[in-house]
């Protein structure tokens, strides 16, 4: 009972956030001077033609009414049409989303594979030089933006060693092995940087857990440290780690915009930049909305994961904070 009410509360907060975010995006793109008719008709259009198109597109309506119309369309799966080609935006976005998700998903998995053991190691060896080395390395990784890591990887593994392709995308369905080969460098560039941030949080989470009384109790009844960390530590550290993972996944989706440009991947990010440069505002609007919705959805999932991992939160009000 309590749990379902908490979940409903989170869901309501998600819906409200999404509405406010969509309104902000819509107003930003529709209130500033210069509109979509100039893009469609060109700069030499007669005022009459512009006026006709404006009224045909409903641009003379008050902005809030246009927002409601747009929102109603979105609710029916109609994200609008490209200002250039007139194609429905949803059809343009979905195939690109698959590319972006395979990029982000693989990068995140790789980041976890690198960061979880490294962070645990750094926590267990916090006073040794080896643990401090992990921290120092992560500090270096944090100072390198993902696109720079990508450029360095291209220079080393594509230009010098010629082991891997420097870019482009091969659909999974046409050749799984080639798909994998083309995504290795993009994945590694995302994972190195995100992993560097993650290591510090994983280490911090385990350090917190290791200072707890139940860990001392476990040690005092004769458990080895490894067993105590394994049995008690993981679940408790997972709470903190899940939050960071959620935040990182969100920034990864946006970071993917840049990585897609380094490696010429036909994902959502490349489409977004092309539509910004071409002033295709309906397309920009839809892609940004999809990205923001993804980020908010991840935040929601993090909240839900919290409730699942930590039964204490289901009874208290702590989760509201």
């Amino acid at each position: 009972m309590r749990l379902s009410r908490l979940l409903l509360g989170r869901l309501a907060a998600f819906v409200v956030s999404l509405l406010v975010a969509s309104l902000a995006v819509f107003l930003l793109l529709n209130l500033l001077p210069g509109d979509v008719t100039a893009v469609i008709l060109g700069n030499n259009a007669t005022p009459a033609a512009v006026a006709h198109l404006r009224s045909a597109m409903g641009l003379d309506d008050p902005v809030l009414l246009r927002y409601v119309h747009w929102l109603a369309g979105v609710a029916h799966g109609n994200l609008g049409a490209s200002a250039f080609t007139g194609e429905p935006v949803a059809g343009l976005i979905v195939p690109k989303l698959a590319v972006t998700i395979s990029l982000v998903g693989g990068g995140m998995v790789l980041a976890m594979v690198l960061a979880l053991p490294a962070g645990l190691f750094a926590a267990l060896h916090r006073r040794q030089a080896s643990g401090q080395m992990v921290l120092a390395t992560s500090q270096l990784g944090m100072a390198v933006p993902a696109f720079l890591a990508g450029i360095v990887l291209v220079v080393v593994f594509a230009a010098r060693l010629r082991w891997l392709p420097a870019g482009n995308y091969v659909p999974l369905t046409s050749d799984p092995l080639d798909w994998f080969r083309h995504l290795i460098l993009p994945w590694v560039s995302l994972a190195l940087v995100q992993g560097a941030v993650l290591v510090r949080y994983v280490r911090g989470a385990f350090l917190d857990v290791m200072d707890q009384d139940y860990m001392r109790t476990a040690r005092s009844i004769g458990w080895r440290r490894r067993r105590a960390v394994w049995r008690h530590g993981l679940r408790n550290a997972a709470l903190q780690i899940v939050t960071v993972l959620g935040l990182q996944l969100a920034t990864l989706f946006v970071g993917a915009v840049v990585i897609e440009n380094v490696f010429v991947l036909p994902g959502l990010g490349s489409l977004l930049l092309r539509s910004v440069n071409g002033r295709d505002l309906p397309l920009v609007q839809a892609i940004v909305l999809v990205l923001v919705a993804l980020i908010l959805m991840i935040n929601l999932l993090v909240d839900v994961a919290y409730l699942v991992i930590d039964p204490r939160l289901r009874t208290g009000r702590a989760v509201v904070e």
């Binding site: 944090m142 100072a143 720079l148 360095v152």
Partner: protein, 272 residues
């Protein structure tokens, strides 16, 4: 004052970047926009210390001058973040209740718009990216972190006995915020400023790489990396220097933040 290796190294690296910026304001070895086709793709040496790029521009001059926009991004991000975020965070902690919740929800919402996404939106709305759209976006995106950090620290201060004593003595909430809360949260805000500075440099580098920040005539490290990309197979030298510059600047501010945390706030010290 306690010594901290992070603080010393961080301050030294930040010092290098600031020095590069100051030097670039009064002197540059070459005009960073002077195209010399005959001097294209020169290797590092004399007179071009870091070599030249695909247009024959002197890389050393552009790296020096690129520090300006990098520091500008950081200064604007920290200024906007602190000026908007700290009062909101303190107010959220001091008033609590509904307004506190509203402020935190708003901060969460802005979190859903990372600097890059905001900059893209502004660029789309304005018909192209510029220094102004990039800086505004980076600044707004840095606000929620300041709200959170200021709120958390303020809540801690407000639970202290001396605050209770001040309230019992009839001190107004505004007075308490000014004379008790602000001085006590200053160290945490300072640490956050250093962290946000580093993040702003990263964001600006990504934006200028994507062509959503300064125009091509303004030297910027991210932009230089973009220009270097066609030459990665033949002349990786073009990417080395601006890449190194970004890493040094960000590493400097991150280490400075860590070091300040070590020195200013013993309870947060990492190594116990």
């Amino acid at each position: 004052m306690k010594r901290s290796a992070s603080l010393i190294i961080g301050a030294a690296l930040v010092g290098v970047v600031v020095l590069a910026c100051l030097v670039s304001l009064v002197w540059l070895p070459f005009d960073p926009n002077h195209v010399v086709p005959s001097a294209r793709l020169a290797s590092p040496g004399w007179p071009h210390l870091m070599g030249t790029d695909g247009l024959g521009l002197d890389i050393f001059s552009r790296v020096l001058a690129g520090s300006r926009i990098c520091l500008l991004a950081g200064i604007i991000a920290v200024a906007i973040g602190a000026i908007i975020g700290v009062p909101l965070g303190v107010a959220g902690a001091a008033t609590g209740g509904v307004w506190g919740q509203v402020i935190m929800r708003a901060a969460d919402l802005v979190y859903a718009f990372p600097a890059l996404l905001l900059a893209i939106l502004l660029a789309a709305a304005r018909g192209g990216g510029s220094v102004a759209t990039a800086m505004v976006a980076i600044g707004i995106a840095s606000v929620p972190a300041f709200i959170r950090i200021a709120r958390g620290a303020s809540l801690q201060v407000l639970s202290q006995d001396y605050v209770l004593a001040a309230r019992a003595a009839g001190t107004t909430r505004a007075r308490i915020a000014w004379s008790h809360v602000l001085p006590n949260i200053a160290p945490v805000v300072l640490v956050q400023s250093s962290v946000s500075f580093g993040l702003a440099i990263l964001a600006e580098a990504a934006l200028s790489y994507l062509g959503l920040s300064a125009p091509a005539t303004t030297p910027a490290w991210g932009r230089m990396l973009y220009d270097a990309q066609p030459y990665l197979f033949s002349d990786p030298n073009l990417a080395t220097w601006p890449g190194l510059a970004i890493a040094v600047a960000v590493l400097g501010f991150n280490l400075l933040g860590d070091g300040l945390r070590d020195v200013l706030d013993p309870t947060l010290r990492e190594v116990r």
